[in-house]
């Protein structure tokens, strides 16, 4: 978390989340303060922007840094599995990269339960990556429950964006 180096602009976050802009409230999507990624000093990560397959931008935009979950669920659907397979491939191709897998929930649950639900989601994504060849030691997980929504309206179109796990790529070894 301390390796947060820069934040993607809100629009980029929206685009890579596959989120259509909110017709009633165009500014309803905030930059995800935890979606920051650290530039990879010593990690062998490139800085050539979205066209550089070793860059963090490429990971977030082309590979996809997040997957979504149904209400109160933590199983990975076909879309989520496809994204996670691409993530695993990227991690295998960039052996210096490590990541924290964040689990998040929407606001329609109680705080403590949502912490536990976020932990389930982060763990589901983490396990899938490990099963697809990413060394466990390069991954960490954390739950934010309902504390850090990225879409701020109180309708399903926002909640569906908040029920997510996000691979936040960090430099250096997992602490």
């Amino acid at each position: 978390m301390n390796a947060r180096a820069f934040l993607f602009p809100a629009l980029l976050t929206v685009a890579l989340a596959g989120c259509t802009s909110d017709p009633e409230s165009p500014v309803a999507t905030a930059p995800d303060p935890n979606a920051g990624v650290g530039a990879g000093g010593g990690s062998g990560l490139g800085s050539g922007g979205v066209d550089d397959p070793t860059s963090l931008e490429y990971f977030s935009v082309v590979v996809g840094d997040r997957v979504f979950f149904a209400t109160d669920r933590f199983d990975l659907d076909a879309d989520a599995q496809a994204i996670l397979r691409r993530q695993a491939e990227w991690f295998r191709a960039n052996p210096g990269a490590t990541a924290t897998i964040e689990g998040h929930a929407d606001e329609r649950g109680t705080r403590t339960y949502n912490l536990a639900l976020g932990a389930r989601r982060a763990n589901a994504a983490l396990n899938f990556l490990v099963a697809n060849g990413v060394p466990r030691a390069r991954l960490n997980s954390v739950t934010f429950g309902k504390e850090r929504p990225v879409s701020l309206c109180s309708f399903e179109r926002c909640w569906s964006q908040n029920r997510r796990s996000v691979a936040v790529v960090i430099k250096g070894p997992v602490s």
Binding site: T110, Y113, L115, N123, V142, S154
Partner: protein, 442 residues
């Protein structure tokens, strides 16, 4: 008139409570949704004279002490304070019996008088009297010193004395509420620990800041457990209610949350997450960790009964979030919530008679109560998001938080009595969530 006769005036309120406690568990499990409008309930009409001062220099103190007492009684919803403008006389010497006829015509059933004077040691003293107007006699009188360092406390102690004298209810005004002070945008809230008197006065920030969640008072009211993201993941910390150094509890490899003290204050019930799975554990403050549940479900939000023999908690082991009770040592758990919807955040009343919870049904959130065997479910509130009840020290009220929807959504603290009456905002400086009501102060 006797105390019992006074209490009988509160019959609709206390009667419902008594039924809730004493009635045998019905076989039928459907939630009871009683009339929460309070239409049947009549608050006790009382007159409170301005507190007098023994010397002009104390007039300001007398006025502010009386005003705090009056505000407490008003907020409780149990009393109707007769407007001072209606009084036939305010000139009632403290040491004489009042002319009860003057108060009967106002339909006052109780009269409260008080005076402030300086004791030989220089400290302020407050003496107050509570009269039964109909019987024409004094019910209660007490003399209390004002703590110069905490000048508002004496007023709460007086309000507690009046409450107990007139209703038989145990005291609760002399207590505090810990909560999370919320500022910043919805997507990146700053959440910091705060503590205040139950009436919203004397807000202090003990020092935990950043992303801090779910504070819980220790049984002696001196310390607070809470969740902090200081280390980058949710972990349980302990801090003095007035500040001081923060101590991380345990050094667990995974995430820890949902802490609550045992009744003796020596142990902490908590949830640990391992491999994505959350179970309940008991941590000794002097060491020792005991696992209480072990299954693939989410087991969290544990709360002890006042005797420390049983634990109520929430689990989705049956497929949805529901409330269970098990022995404090772990073992077989019995599900007690059976209504439609899901249930979380159970908390045992300090009186032992009720369990309060959050209920989610058909897209609405409710605060509710039920008996520890699951019978007598009653929903007290409803909104887009009501969550996290915590009982007053006498078990008569719960404080909880309500969050409004949307990008500008904001959390506020509210209190409501356990039959669903007297829902009120609790004043806080900023948006506020996750309240924990302290025990009665010592």
């Amino acid at each position: 008139m006797t105390l019992a006769a006074f209490a009988s005036r509160l019959v609709p309120l206390l009667g419902v409570l008594a039924c809730l406690v004493a009635a045998p568990a019905p076989a039928q499990r459907a939630p009871l949704e009683i009339d929460v409008s309070g239409a049947q309930f009549r608050p006790l009409p009382v007159a409170m004279l301005p507190f007098t001062a023994s010397e002009p220099a104390l007039a300001g103190a007398a006025e502010s002490i009386g005003a705090i007492v009056e505000a407490d009684l008003q907020r409780s919803g149990l009393f109707r304070l007769i407007p001072r403008a209606a009084f036939l006389s305010t000139d009632v010497p403290f040491d004489t019996m009042p002319a009860f006829e003057d108060w009967r015509v106002l339909e006052a059933e109780a009269l409260i008088t008080g005076r402030v004077y300086r004791a030989p040691d220089g400290r302020l003293q407050v003496q107050y009297r509570v009269f039964d107007v109909l019987a024409g006699e004094q019910l209660h009188s007490q003399q209390l010193p004002q703590d110069a360092a905490q000048p508002r406390r004496v007023s709460h102690q007086i309000a507690d004395g009046v409450l107990t004298a007139l209703t038989g209810e145990a005291p609760y005004f002399d207590s505090r509420i810990a909560f999370i002070d919320e500022t910043g945008p919805k997507g990146d809230r700053r959440k910091r620990l705060a503590v205040m008197d139950q009436d919203g006065a004397n807000v202090v920030y003990p020092g935990a800041d950043g992303l801090v969640l779910t504070p819980q008072f220790s049984p002696d009211g001196q310390r607070l457990l809470y969740i902090s993201y200081d280390t980058g993941q949710p972990e349980i910390f302990l801090i003095g209610a007035g500040g001081g150094s923060q101590r991380r509890l345990g050094n667990f490899p995974g995430m820890s949350f949902g802490p609550r003290f045992s009744p003796n204050g020596n142990e902490v019930l908590l949830s640990l997450t391992e491999g994505g799975n959350t179970d309940l554990y008991l941590l000794g403050l002097n060491g020792g960790l005991r696992r209480l549940t072990s299954n693939p479900a989410i087991d969290t939000s544990g709360s002890f009964d006042p005797d420390g023999r049983r634990i109520v908690f929430e689990s989705d082991r049956g497929g949805s979030q529901q409330i269970y009770v098990m022995p404090a040592s772990g073992g077989a758990a019995q599900r007690i919530s059976f209504g439609e919807g899901s249930y979380g955040t159970p908390v045992w009343s300090p009186k032992g008679d009720l369990i309060a919870f959050t209920k989610i049904r058909a897209g609405r959130f409710h605060i509710g109560v039920m008996r520890p065997d699951g019978s007598g479910e009653r929903l007290l509130t409803t909104s887009f998001l009501d969550e996290g009840p915590s009982f007053s020290p006498n078990g008569r009220f719960v404080v909880f938080y309500r969050e409004s929807p949307g990008q500008q959504g904001r959390a506020q603290l509210l209190s409501v009595d356990v039959i669903g009456r007297n829902e009120r905002l609790v004043a806080t400086p900023n948006a506020a969530s996750d309240p924990s009501w302290s025990p009665l102060r010592r």
